[in-house]
C-alpha cells in the first residue's frame, strides 16, 4: 500500500514517518519509535493496555490508524516522568501496591492521568467508572482506585 508521510510529536520529540494507511498507531509507537511501554493486550479496544494521551485525553492507540494521528502531540507512558522524577500518580501506583504483573499498568496510568486532567477531585464511583475500559486481571482494582485517590489528594495539595 502506498505510504504517506505523517508528523507525530511524541513525548516532546518530533518524528516524520512514512506509514501505510493500514498501520496502527500502537505498532508505530512500539516497532518504529521503540516505545514499547504501550502494550498489546487485544488489538481491538477491549483491554486498554495500549492507552496513550493526546491533548491530555486518553486514546486507545490500537484503534487509531497512524495516518489519522498526523499532527498529533502524543504522550506515552515513557513521557510522563521527568527523568527519574515520577508523577504523583506513578508514585502512588507504587506506594499503594497498585502494580502486580505490570502489563496493564502503562495503560492504566495513562487513563488515570486523563481522569485527573478532567476531574482533579474524583470520588470512588467516578474513578471506577472511568477505569472500566482498562482491564487488570491481577489486582482486583481496589489498590488502583486508592492510588488515583492518593494522587488526586497530592495534586490538590500542590
Amino acid at each position: 500500500m502506498a505510504k504517506q508521510e505523517i508528523k507525530l510529536t511524541v513525548n516532546g520529540k518530533i518524528y516524520h514517518l512514512e506509514v501505510a494507511p493500514n498501520e496502527i498507531l500502537l505498532n508505530i509507537l512500539r516497532d518504529k519509535l521503540f516505545l514499547t511501554g504501550s502494550k498489546y493486550g487485544c488489538g481491538i479496544g477491549e483491554c486498554g493496555a495500549c492507552t496513550i494521551l493526546a491533548g491530555g485525553r486518553s486514546y486507545l492507540s490500537c484503534l487509531i490508524p497512524a495516518v489519522a494521528a498526523d499532527g498529533w502531540e502524543i504522550t506515552t507512558i515513557e513521557g510522563l516522568a521527568k527523568g527519574e522524577e515520577l508523577t504523583p500518580l506513578q508514585q502512588a501506583f507504587i506506594d499503594e501496591g497498585a502494580i502486580q504483573c505490570g502489563f496493564c499498568t502503562p495503560g492504566m496510568v495513562m487513563t488515570a492521568t486523563a481522569l485527573l486532567n478532567e476531574n482533579p477531585d474524583p470520588d470512588e464511583e467516578y474513578i471506577k467508572d472511568y477505569l472500566r475500559g482498562n482491564h487488570c486481571r491481577c489486582t482486583g482494582y481496589i489498590a488502583i482506585v486508592k492510588a488515583v485517590q492518593a494522587a488526586a489528594e497530592k495534586q490538590r495539595q500542590g
Partner: protein, 783 residues
C-alpha cells in the same frame, strides 16, 4: 532506642516493589517487547474444524511471497506433554509440535514467518490445506459413548504405550477406610451434583516467544514462561539439541494464573520456525488465539456425604468427571489434586474419590489458580452449607469442629505428596471473621423480601504451599539459587525462580536482605537464564515464597557462614562471636564483635579484603527441596445483594481472611487476596466458555468483549473490602512464611453461592450464576 528496636527488620514491612519504577514508566521489557535485528514475524494457521485429518498442506504460494513455512512434515514428530512438573512415569504424552490431525477448533496446524506481520498474515492466507473432516465430540458423555469418534488410538504414559478406549484419558480412583461402613453409620446422607464450566485465564500478556539462532549453533529464547528450565528441556528434545545449546531467558511475565506452567504451544513452533529460517522469529499470540490455547479444567462432581446427629461426618464420596479437551496437560495429577483438596478439607472418616477424565474436541485444559481446588471447594463448601441448613447447625461452628487442622494430614499434591499440618489459622479466621461480619446476627432468607435482598455467606478453603513432602512423590519440587557478595557489600541473587506479578522476587530479595542485613537497595536480582542457573521446577502450586524462598534462605545462610568466617580471620574473632547489623544510612551490613561493638567491619570491606588476599568470592550455590507442603488457609465472609428484578448479583461487602504464616510483605498479601476475590467474582457470576455444538468454535470467538470479567466498577467500595490475616507461624517456612496465592481464590465461589442462598433461598449448584440463571430460578419458584 533500645538495642532491640535498632535491629533491622524488613520481613513483614510494607516495602515498595523493586520493579515498581520500571513497570510504572513502561520500561519493563516483556517477551513481546524483545526486538532483534533481522527479526521475522511468525504467525500460526489454526484449524477451522474441531476434528479433521490433514491430508495436505501446500505452502508453495506462501513461500513464493518470501515466507518461511512450517508444517507437520518439517517438525521432529516426538510425542510430548507440554507440562513437565510431574515425574515422567506419571505423565501422559499425546502431542507433537504441529499435529497430523486437528483435534480442536483453533489448534495450530501450520506456521509462517515473514519480514513483517502484514506479509506473514498474507502468507498465512495463501497456505492451502486439504482436510478430511471427521465427526467431533464436545461432551464427555458423547465422547465415552460406544462408537463415538476417537481422538486417539494410542498415547504414551512415560515410556509405555497406552491404548485409549472410549476417549477416556485417565481414570483415577482413591479410597481410604471402609466407606460403606461409614455411610451405614450415618444418620443422614446428603447427595448433590455440582458443575463448574470452562473459564479462561485472561492473563494480560498473551502467550508468545522470540527465538534467535546464534552463531555458535545455539538458540536463545525469550518466552512467556513460569519455568525457564521446563522450556529449555522440552525444546532440547524437540529440536534434538544439547541443553547447553538452548538458552531460555528469565523475563517478567504479564500475568499467568497457571497458563504458562506448561511450555506454551507457540514456543516450540517459534523455535522450529527460527531454526528453519536461520533468523530470529517473534511469535506473539493474538488475544483470540490465546483463548484457544488453554482453559481452566471444568468439572462435574457428584458428592455424597454421611453425617451423624452430633455434628460430624461419617463418610464421604466424590465422583468427578472432567472434560479436559484435545490434549493432556495433566488431568492425571489434576484428579489426584482434586482428591487431595477434597480429602484435606474435613475429617470425614473414610473417603472415596472416583475420577474420570475424558478427551473431547475442545481446547486443552490446564491449571488455573488452584488446580481443581476452587472447583471441589465450591462443591464441598456448598454441601456444608446445605447440611448445616437442613440439620439446624451453625455452619461456622460445624467448620470449627470438623476442619483438618494442626496434627492432621494434608495432601499437598494428590495422594502421593502428604505432610502433617503444623500451623493453622482456621479457628482464628472463622471466629474473628464471624465477629467482624456479625455472623450470629445473620437472618434466614425467609425473613427477606422486596426487590433487593441481601445475604451473608461463608466458606473456607486453602491451598498447598508447594509440592514437597517428606517423601518424594509424583511431582518434582526443588529450587536452586546462587547468592554472591560483591566487593562493595552489595549482593547478587541469581535464581531461575519466576515471578508472575505477585511479587515473588521481592520476597526473595527481602529474605536475602534480612539474613545478611544488607539494605534492599543493595540487593540485585540478576537478569538470568537457563545457562547460569540451576533447575527450578516452576512457580506454581503457591510454592514461590515457601519453596523458592526456602532455597534462597538456605543458600544465603551458607554465604553468611563464609562471610563470618572471613570476617573472623580479619577481626581475630571466632565467627560465632560475630553478628551482622544493617546500617541503612551507610548502605551496608556491618559485622560486629558481639558485646564489643568497637570492633567492626563492613560486609563490603570483608569482600574486598577476601578478593585482595585471593581468598575467593563470598558466594554459594545449591539446590534445596522443602520436605513439607503446609496448607495456607483462607476464609471468606461475603455479603451479596440480589436484584430480584434483573437477576444481578453484587457484593456490597467482603471480608478476605488469609493465613500465610509470617507475612513477608503486607501490601502484596492484600494484592493476592483482593485480586483473587475479583477473579472469583468473575468465575461465580460472569465467566463461561461455550462452544458451538456443530463447529466447536468458541461462541465468544475469542473476544474479551463477549467474555465478561469483573471491572473496577463491579468491585465493592474500597472501604468495604476488608483484608485480615491470622497470627500464625509455619515452623518449616522461611521466617515462618507459607504461601497464599491460590488459596486466596479457593473459597470465594462457595461463599458467594452460600450468600446468594441466604439472600433468596435458592441454591445454585452450577457456575456461573448469571442474571439469566437467577431470573429463571426465581420464576420457577413463582410458578
Amino acid at each position: 532506642m533500645s538495642e532491640q528496636e535498632t535491629v533491622y527488620k524488613i520481613i513483614g514491612k510494607a516495602t515498595p516493589r523493586i520493579d515498581g519504577p520500571a513497570k510504572v514508566t513502561g520500561k519493563m521489557q516483556y517477551t513481546s517487547d524483545i526486538m532483534l535485528p533481522g527479526m521475522l514475524y511468525g504467525m500460526v494457521l489454526r484449524s477451522p474444524h474441531a476434528h479433521a485429518e490433514i491430508i495436505s498442506i501446500d505452502t508453495a504460494e506462501a513461500e513464493a511471497l518470501g515466507a518461511v513455512c512450517l508444517t507437520y512434515a518439517d517438525i521432529n514428530p516426538i510425542v510430548y506433554n507440554e507440562r513437565s512438573v510431574s515425574i515422567p512415569a506419571a505423565t501422559y504424552r499425546d502431542r507433537t509440535v504441529l499435529p497430523a490431525k486437528a483435534r480442536h477448533f483453533g489448534e495450530p496446524i501450520a506456521a509462517v514467518a515473514a519480514a513483517s506481520e502484514e506479509l506473514a498474515y498474507q502468507a498465512l492466507q495463501l497456505l492451502k490445506v486439504e482436510y478430511k473432516v471427521l465427526p467431533a465430540v464436545f461432551t464427555p458423555q458423547e465422547a465415552m459413548a460406544d462408537g463415538a469418534p476417537q481422538l486417539y488410538e494410542q498415547i504414551w504414559l512415560g515410556e509405555e504405550k497406552v491404548a485409549v478406549k472410549n476417549n477416556i484419558g485417565v481414570i483415577r480412583n482413591i479410597e481410604e477406610g471402609d466407606v460403606e461402613a461409614g455411610f451405614a453409620a450415618a444418620d443422614r446422607i446428603f447427595e448433590h451434583t455440582f458443575e463448574l464450566g470452562r473459564v479462561y485465564h485472561d492473563q494480560l500478556e498473551t502467550k508468545g516467544a522470540v527465538c534467535a539462532p546464534e552463531a555458535d549453533g545455539s538458540l536463545t529464547v525469550w518466552c512467556t514462561a513460569q519455568s525457564i528450565h521446563a522450556n529449555r528441556q522440552l525444546l532440547g528434545r524437540v529440536l534434538g539439541l544439547p541443553l547447553s545449546k538452548i538458552n531460555v531467558k528469565k523475563l517478567p511475565l504479564g500475568g499467568a494464573f497457571g497458563s504458562s506452567i506448561q511450555v506454551n504451544t507457540v514456543t516450540p513452533i517459534c523455535a522450529c520456525l527460527a531454526l528453519k529460517a536461520g533468523r530470529p522469529v517473534k511469535l506473539i499470540s493474538s488475544r483470540e488465539e490465546d483463548f484457544y490455547s488453554h482453559q481452566k479444567y471444568p468439572s462435574v462432581f457428584e458428592v455424597k456425604l454421611g453425617v451423624a446427629g452430633e455434628g460430624r461426618f461419617t463418610a464421604a464420596q466424590v465422583k468427578c468427571l472432567v472434560d479436559f479437551g484435545a490434549h493432556q496437560v495433566q488431568p492425571l495429577p489434576y484428579m489426584g489434586c482434586v482428591a487431595g483438596w477434597f480429602a484435606s478439607l474435613y475429617r470425614y472418616g473414610p473417603l472415596r474419590f472416583l475420577g474420570t477424565a475424558v478427551y473431547t474436541n475442545k481446547v486443552p485444559c490446564c491449571a488455573m489458580q488452584g488446580y481443581g481446588n476452587p472447583q471441589i471447594n465450591f462443591a464441598i463448601e456448598s454441601m456444608v452449607d446445605i447440611i448445616c441448613e437442613e440439620m439446624g447447625w451453625d455452619s461456622v461452628e460445624f467448620r470449627l469442629k470438623n476442619h483438618r487442622g494442626v496434627g492432621d494430614e494434608f495432601w499437598g499434591q494428590g495422594p502421593t505428596i502428604r505432610s502433617i499440618i503444623k500451623s493453622c489459622g482456621v479457628p482464628e479466621s472463622l471466629t474473628k471473621g464471624g465477629e467482624i461480619f456479625a455472623w450470629k446476627e445473620r437472618r434466614p432468607h425467609t425473613e427477606k423480601s422486596g426487590r433487593y435482598r441481601k445475604g451473608i455467606g461463608v466458606a473456607r478453603g486453602f491451598h498447598t504451599s508447594g509440592t514437597g513432602g517428606p517423601k518424594e512423590g509424583e511431582v518434582i519440587d526443588y529450587s536452586s539459587c546462587m547468592v554472591k557478595i560483591n566487593e562493595d557489600g552489595s549482593v547478587d541473587l541469581i535464581s531461575a525462580l519466576m515471578d508472575h506479578g505477585g511479587g515473588t522476587w521481592d520476597a526473595m530479595a527481602k529474605i536475602v536482605s534480612q539474613t545478611l542485613q544488607v539494605p534492599m537497595r543493595m540487593i540485585g536480582l540478576s537478569p538470568t537464564d537457563t545457562r547460569n542457573t540451576g533447575y527450578d521446577v516452576c512457580t506454581h502450586a503457591t510454592r514461590g515464597v515457601y519453596c523458592g524462598g526456602a532455597a534462597v534462605l538456605y543458600v544465603t545462610n551458607k554465604v553468611k557462614e563464609k562471610l563470618l568466617e572471613y570476617a573472623g580471620r580479619i577481626l581475630f574473632e571466632h565467627p560465632a562471636a560475630l553478628e551482622i547489623i544493617c546500617d541503612e544510612e551507610l548502605g551496608q551490613g556491618v559485622i560486629f564483635a558481639k558485646n564489643y561493638h568497637q570492633k567492626s567491619i563492613t560486609i563490603g570491606e570483608v569482600a574486598k579484603i577476601a578478593q585482595i588476599n585471593s581468598w575467593g568470592t563470598i558466594a554459594y550455590t545449591d539446590s534445596y527441596r522443602q520436605r513439607n507442603c503446609p496448607p495456607c488457609f483462607t476464609t471468606h465472609f461475603l455479603e451479596v445483594e440480589v436484584d430480584t428484578l434483573t437477576g444481578e448479583i453484587t457484593v456490597p461487602k467482603a471480608l478476605l481472611y488469609g493465613d500465610c504464616g509470617t507475612v513477608i510483605n503486607p501490601v502484596l498479601i492484600d494484592g493476592q487476596l483482593i485480586g483473587s476475590f475479583n477473579r472469583g467474582l468473575g468465575y461465580t457470576v460472569y465467566e463461561s466458555l461455550d462452544v458451538d455444538q456443530k463447529t466447536g468454535e468458541l461462541t465468544n470467538k475469542g473476544l474479551l468483549v463477549d467474555y465478561k470479567t469483573p471491572t473496577a466498577a463491579e468491585m465493592p467500595a474500597a472501604e468495604n473490602v476488608l483484608v485480615h490475616w491470622t497470627d500464625t507461624y509455619e515452623p518449616s517456612g522461611p521466617f515462618g512464611a507459607k504461601g497464599i496465592g491460590e488459596a486466596a481464590l479457593a473459597s470465594v465461589q462457595a461463599a458467594l453461592a452460600n450468600a446468594v442462598y441466604n439472600a433468596i433461598g435458592i441454591r445454585f449448584a452450577k457456575l456461573p450464576i448469571t442474571p439469566e440463571v437467577v431470573l429463571a430460578a426465581l420464576r420457577a419458584i413463582d410458578n
